[in-house]
Symmetry: C2
Amino acid sequence: MKTEDVNEEDMLAPAMAKRFIEAVETEDLEVIKEILSNAEADDQRRFVGMLGGKERDHLCSVLTTEEAAHLLGNMAEAQAVDMLEDMPADRAAHVLEELGADLSGDLLRELDEESSEAILAEFDDAENCEEVRERASYEWDSAGGLMSDHVVSFRQIATVEDVLKELGDHAEDYSDDEVQYFYVVDGEHKLKGVLALRNLVLGKRSKQIGDLMIPDPATVNVEDDLEELQDAFERKKYLAFPVVDAEGRLKGIVTRDAMQEALSDAQTDRYLKASGIVGGEELRSMPLKERCIRRLAWLGPNILLNLLAASIIASYEDTLQAVIALAVFLPMVSDMSGCSGNQAVAVSIRELTLGIIQPRDYIRVLFKEIWLGLNNGIVLGVVLGTLAAVWKDNIYLGLVVGGALMLNTILSVAIGGLVPLLLKKFKVDPALASGPILTTVTDMSGFFLVLSLANLAMGQLV
Amino acid sequence: MKTEDVNEEDMLAPAMAKRFIEAVETEDLEVIKEILSNAEADDQRRFVGMLGGKERDHLCSVLTTEEAAHLLGNMAEAQAVDMLEDMPADRAAHVLEELGADLSGDLLRELDEESSEAILAEFDDAENCEEVRERASYEWDSAGGLMSDHVVSFRQIATVEDVLKELGDHAEDYSDDEVQYFYVVDGEHKLKGVLALRNLVLGKRSKQIGDLMIPDPATVNVEDDLEELQDAFERKKYLAFPVVDAEGRLKGIVTRDAMQEALSDAQTDRYLKASGIVGGEELRSMPLKERCIRRLAWLGPNILLNLLAASIIASYEDTLQAVIALAVFLPMVSDMSGCSGNQAVAVSIRELTLGIIQPRDYIRVLFKEIWLGLNNGIVLGVVLGTLAAVWKDNIYLGLVVGGALMLNTILSVAIGGLVPLLLKKFKVDPALASGPILTTVTDMSGFFLVLSLANLAMGQLV
């Protein structure tokens, strides 16, 4: 790309965006179509993102089925799901039939059961409907959910002659397919082997392809999850694996590219969950009520955990009353420890992802983090303790505050390092639960340490 | 992969890990080599991760250059960089020469200038050295940093005959290369066109390939960043783009696969930065001192920001003294608002990544977030306010606490939604700076709101 192109686009986009919204408001179909057909996919996403729900529904209703399918195909998945939800079931079914089984299944998977069944019931083509239903039934990050059905297979009893004739006669049908390799199956569509294009071309015309194929190729199973796929692609430098079901029947191929894209989506998912965006991605174009409820679903349990931590402070009211300066340091100690603990959480989650540690390595992780916590705890404790001592001209206040921060730092990095391992062991998503567990525990221990140490030193503090 | 395989590995790994560490401790070279050569790449990463710095250096020193290069190639990048740093410069140079220019450049890029130059000075092959230096000079997430040099090009004046002869005579030299497409260059290695293998094979033997090629192919520039690459791959459904420099000379190809992997790494980077792991990935096998300093580099500024926020509490000591119950609610209000604001940060960063919003959309974002903040603020404020009122049997305490949480929720989601847009506009990494800015502002405003509202209602609170 040349830089000038990008700049030109940057200048064009605001004018186009304004014209687009005006056109949707005035229902100017011609202008809408013109702008959408000239816009890049990312501008299309942005334009559609600017529309309110009513305007967007209107836009979808004025497009032809083909145009709506094309637009949906260019949206971010969360946007496309959102648009689909708002379409009448029969319209949605026709748009999905246009989109192909893979993408349709991926979108339907994200709808609730009822809407999804209502749409599937409106499919014209029963076979297509079954394909989409099957695709939607796989987890998004499994081989079945990531595979492409653009795969060319032939029966092992076919001859080279037969295959070449079929390819020649229906060349246009195969234009979308990956045709460097063909897959060889038996009468029950069970995968028997793989055949490179060059071996086909160089083979004797009368030979059966079952005799030319490489038998028993490496495969992945439809149920294999992302971690297993990652291992498979690391083990073999293939660009794609054939995907088979439990009976060994060929279902599709999963490419290295699709695996990498899924990894990137999984990282995004982790970041969003760790930030408290749970129950699916949120877009600002979603209805306010839905956005509020989703965010509150995370904040609600958090308020309870916060209450738990705050109850520690409540039980030390007398101590606080006597040394009011402590109230200044309570949030600091809990916040600083939370930050230290979060660093340990991130390192553990990262090392788990890279395969450098496993849940059973908890003793090593604990030992390493305690040692680091002691070091950083001393540094941070001395800094904060000195500030406290100087501020109130009381060395004991410094000892209480600094000591509490030091001890709480050790505790929080140890817990932060361990929690992801334990959660992973018990099959809970570490990205989702590590943060709240860590924050609650370190808040409680931080408040407790400051206030109980202050209680011990009370004679020197007042 | 079959499930039984995975289970078997799971059982084998601990025994292998134990034997591995023993072998390194007793310097049992045979056992070390045997275990490493039988282990999968992820087990290798885990085994090496278990070693202390001294043991790891010893391991590197007993392997042959080829073995060390192979091991390094299987490590996570952060591990490989770490191992390289600890090798003598001449040893490191030989290992890198074994690894190939692409991977070597990627590793050297992460070293400091001095170590990197020391290693480059020990390269045996001057041409190889220049290639590695050039690779290391590109940003890791630019086309130049992601491209592969496994690309086959021919002069446009070559005939089909010449090319076929060259390919036939040196077949083994091209076995690693992507040979579905050949690139056609002029005498100055400027890219002129692209030639599909099938067109070459079907072409008249005496024809110059300049006449068979597709001229002026789409390209990317070595300096193009990840966002530009993403756009390019979205615009065209290619599996790879040729990469050219400013003069149009062919430098390599960048595959869709490599772009996806980089995206996934960028997401990881964002997550780590948002969690306070800055200045590069941390592994627990790194020296304690380095890990402490890196983590403190993030915690240090944080302690200052925390002090700033706490100073608000300090200036209201009299209010707190009068109504000690407020101390219980200060951390709750600031923490809850922080959580709400973080959700808005995550949604903004996500929408920026997807291209649904741009920095110039700040008014729409602000409006949407204020509206949501009002809703969630009322819900959370009523809950916390009711609890406070019931606990101390004082409706005014409830009004103060609930009101402060409501107002601070609106403020924090508005700021949380905006900050990533502003940081992006001013070219600061939103993942790095959004969190601390948000936390400091919402802590300060939360403390201020609780304490100043309490001041106003003081007559009713005591």
